[in-house]
């Protein structure tokens, strides 16, 4: 099966065709925002980092920005630097170069102030946008799709309706040869042995258990005992009996395929099928990591409702809660409340989600795109200095 996508010079395929403005440092964020303002098809990353990070965080910032630049949903890139930042704009450009798309750099200290930089940036962005408009969508096999999965603002409907239904859709994409990313390690605690059992090799299983142990120890050092604190008294009152049950409700959204790979934050999957990215459960950091790793589309389940979206990847919002769907129609794409009313089978809901993935991948706008949600936040482990 195919979707209608954009073929890139490096052979990858996108679901969108953006001109992307990347501020290499927080100081250039306002300039980047002004360049993108009013230009349809031009988006910017609200990046506040790029200066003052230490250790591994420096690498994470660069890797994430490069991941967005090389992303197949992006046609061309304009990097806006300030001039004295730690993360040199030229380094980001070199990182994006293998994708063989047009990348330009402008630096405010060289160009001479905000107004001149914005004017120059707009000229370049408009040029890029004109070239982007010449590219047409073409049939792309679903096997080239990387689908991110996420849940946030969960309630009892998440574990019973939206997560299992999304899981059914994920299994359908894997059957088509596509890739599904499961992430948010802290939510996995308690069900890690179940995911580990599904690993293709014992080495992958060990990596799953290792990732969970790392987060658990890190949280413990900060005074949080995740395993002891869950299920919370409110969860138990709601009917969740054990931590396994709570965490299974979360991992079930990625389906039942065998696990092919464990990858670090913002890394590209090298395998097809189900892969696991080690990310925080923080909704925006998780979303940013999966998109930086190449996800061209994301399925996001919620019980209570959330407005989140990505600057460059469509995010499909799915709820099993009828009240949430009617209260937050601006934000919700799919209503699965009929599952818990006994009027829709899990598999047919899964099929409906799978068909929505194909429509959205082929250009149908999501609610988050219509409301202009462009959320972006890079995960880091240490302080800024």
């Amino acid at each position: 099966m195919n979707f209608q996508g954009y073929r890139r010079p490096d052979g990858k395929a996108g679901t969108r065709n953006y001109v992307l403005i990347i501020p290499s440092v927080g100081c250039s964020q306002g300039v980047a925002r002004e360049i993108a303002r009013g230009l349809k098809g031009v988006v910017y990353l609200p990046n506040i980092l790029g200066c003052g990070q230490v250790g591994e965080d420096r690498m994470l910032v660069k890797k994430t920005l490069v991941g967005f630049g090389t992303h197949p949903n992006v046609f061309s890139v304009l990097i806006v630097g300030n001039g004295c930042e730690q993360l040199v704009p030229q380094e980001i450009k070199e990182g994006i170069a293998p994708s063989r798309k047009r990348v330009e750099v402008i630096v405010t200290q060289d160009v001479g102030g905000t107004r001149k930089t914005v004017a120059l940036g707009k000229r370049i962005a408009k040029e890029m946008r004109e070239d982007a408009a010449k590219l047409n969508r073409e049939p792309i096999p679903l096997s080239e799709l990387i689908l991110g999965t996420e849940c946030g603002g969960s309630d009892y409907t998440s574990g019973l309706a939206s997560n299992p239904a999304v899981g059914a859709a994920c299994d359908m994409l894997v059957t088509e040869g596509g890739t599904v990313i499961l992430s948010e390690t802290p939510e996995l605690i308690g069900a890690e042995h179940i995911l580990a059992k599904r690993a293709r090799t014992s080495e992958i299983a060990t990596q799953v258990l290792g990732a969970v142990a790392w987060w658990e120890q890190k949280a413990m050092a900060a005074g949080e005992n995740i395993r002891k604190a869950n299920p919370a008294p409110g969860n138990i009152a709601g009917g969740i009996t054990t931590l396994e049950e709570k965490s299974l409700g979360c991992i079930y959204k990625a389906g039942t395929s065998s696990l092919e790979e464990v990858i670090p934050y913002a890394s590209h999957p090298t395998k097809k099928g189900l892969v696991y990215m080690d990310t925080p459960a923080h909704d925006i950091e998780q979303l940013t990591g999966m998109v930086a790793g190449g996800a061209q589309i994301v399925l996001f389940t919620t019980g209570r409702g959330t407005p989140l979206g990505s600057p460059i990847a469509p995010v499909i919002k799915i709820t099993g809660n009828r009240d949430t769907y009617s209260k937050m129609k601006d934000n919700m794409d799919l209503n699965l409340s009929k599952i818990l009313e006994g009027k829709e089978k899990m598999n047919s809901a899964g099929k409906r989600i799978f068909e929505e993935v194909i429509s959205v991948a082929s250009g149908k706008a999501t609610k988050a795109e219509k409301t202009g949600q462009r959320d972006f936040c890079i995960y880091k482990m240490s302080m800024n200095i």
Binding site: G190, I194, I236, G238, T241, E244
Partner: protein, 96 residues
């Protein structure tokens, strides 16, 4: 008017179902999964979102939801009985 759905089964391997409404002891429930309907009488009150046993679960046996073990029963649980923290414990690592 079709009767409201009383409970849901997530996976065919599951030995528990989840109540979608407040269900009282003595209620005749019927739960359907992929065309197969199971009928039983509830032995305990089961609040909404809570689980009840679809079959007898022996002491020490796995309680299965999502097709996976969510814990171990601490006593024999009879079909139709409320399944929760009073008769199930977590099994950290699941024997890994």
């Amino acid at each position: 008017v079709a009767r409201e759905t009383q409970a849901i089964i997530i996976n065919q391997k599951d030995n528990v179902a989840t109540a979608l409404m407040e269900l009282n002891a003595g209620t005749e429930v019927s739960v359907e999964f992929q065309g197969r309907v199971q009928k039983m009488t509830l032995l305990s009150d089961v609040p909404m979102g809570h689980k009840f046993a679809l079959q007898d679960i022996q002491e020490g046996e796995a309680v299965i939801k999502y097709g996976e073990s969510i814990g171990q029963s601490t006593v024999k649980i009879t079909r139709g009985e409320h399944v929760h923290v009073h008769n199930v414990v977590s099994q950290p690592g699941g024997g890994w």
